[in-house]
């Protein structure tokens, strides 16, 4: 689950705190907590990359035996997904909100 929260770094409310010093401080309002989250996420990634070499695989396909196949595929798939959605699909299908009215 860590990785899901890690992205909340950008959710920091420094600006808000400056505007309204009385507002309560929450978990990810503290930069230190976000830093911890990021560090643990990156170390988890490293552990996952390393652990691969200690396990015995019994795959369906040959490429599943390639080192770090799943890690690379997951990364590349998501980058491709985002780029295609943003630069190809969105220009094609985006319309004003009242398009159908």
């Amino acid at each position: 689950m860590k990785n899901k929260r890690n992205t909340s770094k950008r959710g920091n409310t420094k600006n808000e705190k400056e505007k309204n010093p009385k507002s309560k401080e929450y978990l990810f309002d503290k930069p230190r907590n976000v830093k911890i989250l990021f560090r643990s996420f990156y170390s988890a990634l490293l552990v996952l990359l390393a652990i691969e070499f200690f396990i015995h695989k019994h795959p369906h396909f040959a490429w599943e035996e390639w080192p770090e196949f799943y890690a690379i595929y997951g990364f590349v798939a998501c980058v491709v997904l985002v780029l295609v959605s943003k630069y190809i699909l969105r220009p094609l299908v985006k319309r004003r909100e009242d398009y159908y009215d």
Partner: protein, 590 residues
């Protein structure tokens, strides 16, 4: 012990009595319905029950086998959760519609014949539409009508297929059909509409986000899963389904990435998850069918959980667009936690329910050496984590601070989400009970070290991609906009249709008007008015000419005759001559 009754009957009859109850009694009564239904269900032994003779056919209202019973279980569980979640709703239209909808779904899965199956199938559409209309906004009304039209078309297609099929086989039993001949294709297509196949899907992404907060929980559970059941019953092992399912798993994730309405993101991911089930049914091996059914079971729970958490956000803030939300973890921590459990389950994290069912379909594809399908499914697995697993919780609960500090969701909503979240984790951690209910004996071990490591790597590095794209500012920001989808064809296409009808039919009208009303009618009027005069004068004028009438005399004669004919005071001779001519004409025409 009271004799069991058909599971659908309990919900449908009980639904009609809901308006009689008030306040706490109504809450208690409604919660009791799925409980009584469940006790009734487990007291029915496997086999065929409630066979009713109708005309020359046997209607079967209770075909209890391993495929139908597991759907019966999950439909009861999700009904309880959805009713609990909707306890604050005072609107009886929604309460009654939701219960009848659940009852119809039970009717669909336990029908052993095509006739009662079709009746319940149509009841699904009719009852569910009120859950959309009950939102009472213009957008909901419009989406509801489009939903109705698409399902009516699909239903007619199914009916045509069933009529042809019964005509060919002489039996109305609902069992394996397989693709052969027109009737089976029509039935296949009719199922496909409810299953939200590509290009037939926009009713789902259009209507579900427009439904009421609580209605969407019911909607997400029943219609598509009934279609999955029907396909698993009638078309297991149909190769076309593998490709249809792969397309379903693949394309919606692109739309989900750029969509702003978070419930619409979930609607797209619903199509994506049903894609996995359809692939499983298409592969058709025992492992694949088990995987499809198990995934349907799990998807109902985690999709409802995600819709419930977004519903709670919407209930408290009145907003659902990613652009308007953010930072809500501060004051809605439990809703946030439940949302993350749902997100982890749909993304198939180890120890969460998606992990133990999605991988069965993937393994079945691997066993069949289907490389392309396997790659698409793996892409879809990474993609679903991206849009449902990260995007939904991140944009609603973290991301930028929207400044809103809403209260935590009401207790009954938290309880409903809590039950669903518990089941997601329980099934993910102890898949045994779920596996023991599946249609075929299960010889599959989800928790092997390579599987755990591979899947975790896939997900974590997808998350890394999201993080880096987000930090680099490349991730497409949420924007207030409409994204076109296949519903463009009937939303804008309907205008083209209207235009064609307008120009085509109306100009046909104009031409007809000119010819028949303006032209022919005038012509006939003229003929019937002037006919006798033309005939008489045509015959008499040459005669008068021969007898020597000229100039003014001739003119006078013509004028006198014309006046006589107009005033119907013509001399007897002329009338008699005309009558004779008329009779001769009639005689000749005879």
């Amino acid at each position: 012990m009271i004799n069991p009754v058909p599971p659908a009957a309990i919900f449908i009859i009980a639904a009609l009595l809901v308006p009689l109850f008030k306040g706490r009694w109504k809450s208690a009564y409604m919660l009791l319905i799925p409980v009584v239904g469940f006790i009734n269900l487990i007291s029915i032994p496997e086999g065929t029950h409630w066979v009713v003779r109708f005309l020359d056919y046997d209607l079967v209202l209770g075909r209890m086998d391993r495929l139908s019973i597991i759907f019966g279980y999950i439909f009861h569980i999700i009904s309880f959760i959805a009713i609990l979640y909707a306890l604050h709703v005072k609107d009886d239209v929604q309460n009654v519609a939701g219960l009848i909808y659940a009852g119809s779904a039970l009717g669909v899965v336990f029908s052993g014949d095509l006739f009662s199956f079709f009746v319940f199938w149509e009841m699904l559409t009719i009852s569910s539409i009120f859950l959309i209309w009950a939102r009472r906004t213009r957008a909901a009304m419009g989406a509801g009508f489009r939903y109705l039209l698409v399902h009516a078309a699909g239903g007619l297609c199914l009916l045509a297929g069933i009529v042809l099929y019964v005509n060919q086989t002489g039996s109305i039993e609902f069992g394996y059909i397989g693709l052969s001949g027109l009737s089976s294709y029509l039935i296949f297509f009719g199922f496909g509409v409810n299953c939200a196949w590509p290009f037939l899907h926009p009713w789902l992404s259009d209507a579900y986000p427009e439904a009421t907060i609580t209605g969407t929980i019911f909607l997400s559970a029943f219609t598509t899963k009934c279609a999955v059941y029907a396909l698993a019953r009638a078309f297991p092992g149909t190769e076309a389904l593998i490709w249809i399912g792969a397309a379903m798993a693949g394309f919606p994730i692109f739309f989900a990435v750029i969509e702003n309405d978070l419930r619409r993101v979930l609607a797209y991911s619903l199509i994506n998850q049903v894609g996995f089930m359809v692939v499983g049914i298409g592969i058709g091996t025992h492992l694949a069918i088990n995987g499809a059914v198990a995934h349907a079971f799990n998807d109902i729970l985690f999709k409802a959980l995600l819709f419930m958490s977004m519903g709670a956000v919407m209930y408290r803030t009145g907003k659902i667009n990613g652009t308007a939300l953010g930072g809500l973890y501060r004051t809605m921590p439990l809703t946030c936690l439940f949302c993350i459990v749902g997100a982890a389950s749909i993304s198939a994290f180890p120890l969460f329910s998606g992990f133990v069912s999605k991988s069965m379909v993937m393994s079945a594809a691997g066993d069949g050496h289907m490389r392309v399908v396997w790659f698409i499914l793996l892409f879809a697995s990474a993609g679903v984590f991206h849009h449902a697993g990260i995007k939904i919780p991140f944009f609603a609960f973290f991301s930028h601070d929207s400044g809103m500090r809403p209260k935590e969701a009401p207790l009954h909503m938290l309880l409903a989400m809590g039950i669903a979240a518990f089941l997601c984790i329980f099934i993910g951690s102890f898949p045994g009970p779920l596996y023991s209910m599946l249609p075929y004996p299960v010889d599959y071990v989800p928790y092997t070290i390579p599987h755990i490591v591979g899947q975790t790597q896939l997900l974590f590095f997808s998350a890394l991609a999201f993080t880096l794209l987000m930090l680099a500012g490349i991730y497409p920001g949420e924007q207030r906009c409409v994204n076109l989808d296949a519903d463009w064809f009937y939303r804008k296409g309907s205008r083209l249709f209207y235009l064609i009808m307008d120009k085509g039919l109306n100009s046909l009208n104009k031409v007809s008007d000119r010819i028949f009303v303006g032209g022919l009618a005038g012509f006939f009027g003229y003929i019937s008015k002037r006919g006798p005069e033309i005939l008489t004068l045509g015959a008499l004028t040459p005669l008068w000419g021969i007898t020597g009438a000229k100039g003014k005399e001739l003119k006078d004669k013509i004028e006198t005759t014309r006046t006589a004919l107009h005033t119907h005071t013509s001399p007897i001779g002329i009338s008699a001559a005309l009558a004779t001519v008329f009779l001769v004409v009639i005689f000749l025409l005879r």
